[in-house]
Symmetry: C3
Subunit: 178 residues, 3 copies
């Protein structure tokens, strides 16, 4: 298939949109995150022992602020996009996530992989995330090793303090691992 | 160098081809995998203690079905492509692999990195993998930690059952680590 | 935004430049690395317990040759570029690093993530790295597990021997973790 200049540019823009998303969650950059979603963004993350379901930018930002708090170390790397246009101003994308999440309070680590299925729309000149879902491929839990040393921890300075977090459980259903 | 629209589109297509490959092996998606190779695909993977050599789509699919079985957890992420055209309908690509493979039967984990060298050809309108090789940069083996919990395991539901696997050793030579 | 053919081609070339950088450091490919930087490249890596500051291709190559020595296993994967043109022949880029570095002499492992901010310039027909900086998001240190086995170790054959390394401490300041 031969793409147009506009389509090739759109592929660059859509990839950069999602790249910004991953950089901003792991650094609790709420200001920049607020630009990346449609007002009515739909979210459905189907994890190993949990399911996250929420609607709208406000819920999403609150969920992310609570999740990427000052007690956490987070690595979310989205790889290998497969993007398909569904119209002049809409597209779908598959991404393959590699993630690691350490909770210092719980002294545990969850890591794994997942497959995202997203929907993107152009609003004016700018692409936004309208829908994002994932299903887990791998999810592994383990206690944090006793002998590690944390030498850099960006979220400890930039993430929301645990005491200021609101309850994320309103967005969560706990499910059977599988 | 200034690429043509066709070349830029081809770069997108070739990347997506390989992205699909990695997504499909880790999810044992044999149907989709069958579309990605030429009939006479050539494979040569030079690992730490093994070498995989095979020829043709049929052997490749059988090798992958046996490898990504229901007893395994697999993460294969191909990064940082360097793609060069060798003709209007042919190209070569270098990819930098990050992989992790857990065998629950053996209770062990092998992880590392490798450099792929691939050859792609356009068949009709569609790019296919005609040749794929890799050399290891890092390969590390370790016993699985006793205290981990597997919370999501996609291949346990979608991979070939161990009892149905055929013997992959016909594709394998065992070599000195190095 | 609609990019021109030249800009889209430049995005491909700039990405490939950085992809080559990561492949070549982990494989101690000093010859190819020497092509990737401007003569006066500026480097500032702000890590957990260290800061690397140096100037010029010669210092950079010496620093890299000492770092990626035969005693080391290194994985440096640059992900999710966000590239912005600042002129016809200049651009800036953000990359999200995932890295792991094992020292067999010290029997330890340092791993984590960082955000690169680079500056690229076109010299003749070729893009080069003119400036590269990073700040750590995560840096974790841990002793190497006793029970691992190294099955492939490319740098042991291609990296500079420890006995031939010069002192990298002239490029380093040791800082408080944070």
């Amino acid at each position: 298939m031969t793409h147009t200049l506009q389509q090739l540019s759109d592929l660059e823009d859509i990839r950069t949109l999602k790249h910004r998303y991953f950089r901003c969650i792991d650094t609790a950059n709420l200001n920049e995150l607020s630009e990346l979603f449609t007002d009515d963004v739909q979210v459905d993350y189907r994890g190993g022992g949990y399911r996250v379901q929420l609607q709208g930018r406000e819920q999403m930002l609150e969920f992310l602020a609570n999740s990427f708090n000052a007690d956490s170390l987070a690595r979310h790397h989205g790889h290998m996009p497969e993007i398909r246009f569904t119209g002049d101003d809409s597209a779908e994308g598959t991404w393959y996530l590699e993630d690691l999440f350490i909770s210092l309070a719980r002294r545990d680590c969850t890591w794994g992989t997942a497959l995202y299925r997203d929907r993107y729309v152009r609003m004016g000149e700018v692409w936004k995330i309208a829908k994002t879902e994932y299903d887990r491929v791998i999810e592994v839990w383990e206690p944090l090793r006793e002998d590690i040393k944390i030498l850099s921890h960006y979220l400890s300075r930039h993430g929301r303090k645990l005491a200021d977090c609101t309850d994320n459980s309103r967005f969560l259903t706990f499910t059977e691992p599988g």
